[in-house]
């Protein structure tokens, strides 16, 4: 299985950082800039992992999570949350919505990869396709 990863983040900079981080690994990469677009991309791609920003315009991470839990096809999709701040008020609702893991930004690359690899297999991309 080649894992599909969807990054939902309004910051293109963060999406670029994440795409670069996962580039050495065999995976399909998808992106969305807000929760509404994230839902559409998630339905199209059926990712094995969603890396979801908390604070976004249009539909934020929490809103997207609520909507995902109402959609049969996305209900069980593992989500790793990225938050800019780590207060209990932010984290408690995430736990109730079944978020598999969370990280505060700026994240450490090794930490994020280690947590992702507990959810999806991360195998090195063959050199010719890297």
């Amino acid at each position: 299985m080649i894992p599909k990863i969807l990054s939902v983040d309004d910051s293109r900079t963060t999406r670029l950082l994440l795409a670069r981080l996962f580039r050495p690994f065999l995976c399909e990469w998808f992106e969305a800039a807000d929760g509404e677009e994230g839902l559409v991309r998630a339905m199209e791609a059926r990712p094995h992992l969603i890396i979801l920003d908390y604070n976004m315009p249009i539909l934020d991470g929490l809103g997207m999570l609520h909507r995902m839990r109402e959609i049969q096809e996305l209900r069980r999709t593992p989500v790793m949350m990225l938050t800019a701040e780590a207060g209990l008020a932010t984290l408690a609702p995430l736990a109730r919505l079944g978020v598999r893991d969370y990280l505060t930004k700026p994240f450490h690359d090794e930490d994020l990869l280690a947590r992702a690899s507990r959810i999806i297999p991360l195998n090195p991309r063959p050199p010719e396709t890297a």
Partner: protein, 156 residues
């Protein structure tokens, strides 16, 4: 006991936040600095000011970061190579992360703030006057960076 909103304490939280984000997000070391000379500020045309509003029960405020536009471009190139990242987007995310760290710092003292999405404004000249409670100055790559924080309490 000192209030977490005491200017000295707030300044410490802000400086730690900025230091952590500069090194963790931009892989840069910045140095705390004295206020830049007016002549230096006047000589630079084009500034980016990132702002994140903060909201809590009976409190509101913002975190603002101001730096020369070319510096944001250079930081973006440093991170991804020339022409890949958008300096304005990078500035917004940078401000967002610093505000997040500040909110986390305040949360450890029982003050829970909600962060709003960042905005970035392009200014022709540096906003010399500041309306914040706390202002700190930094330098990296020999350019000035300003961090302003404001938190006010109000009665509903």
């Amino acid at each position: 006991m000192t209030s977490p909103l005491d200017p000295d304490h707030l300044s410490g939280i802000g400086q730690q936040a900025l230091d952590e984000v500069l090194s963790g997000f931009l892989a840069l070391d910045a140095t705390p600095s004295v206020a830049p000379q007016e002549s230096e500020l006047a000589a630079m045309q084009g500034w980016l000011m990132g702002q994140v509003p903060l909201q809590a029960e009976r409190r509101s405020g913002w975190v603002r970061i101001t730096l020369p536009e070319p510096l944001a471009g250079r930081a973006a190139d440093h991170l991804f190579g020339p022409g890949v990242a958008d300096p304005t987007d990078l500035m917004g995310e940078f401000t967002n992360l610093v505000a997040g760290r500040i909110a986390s710092g305040l949360a450890t003292h029982g003050l829970t703030f909600t962060l709003h999405t960042p905005t970035v404004q392009r200014l022709e000249s540096h906003p010399g006057h500041h309306a914040g409670q706390v202002r700190s100055h930094w330098r990296f790559w020999d350019h000035p960076l300003t961090l302003d924080i404001l938190v006010t309490e109000y009665t509903p």
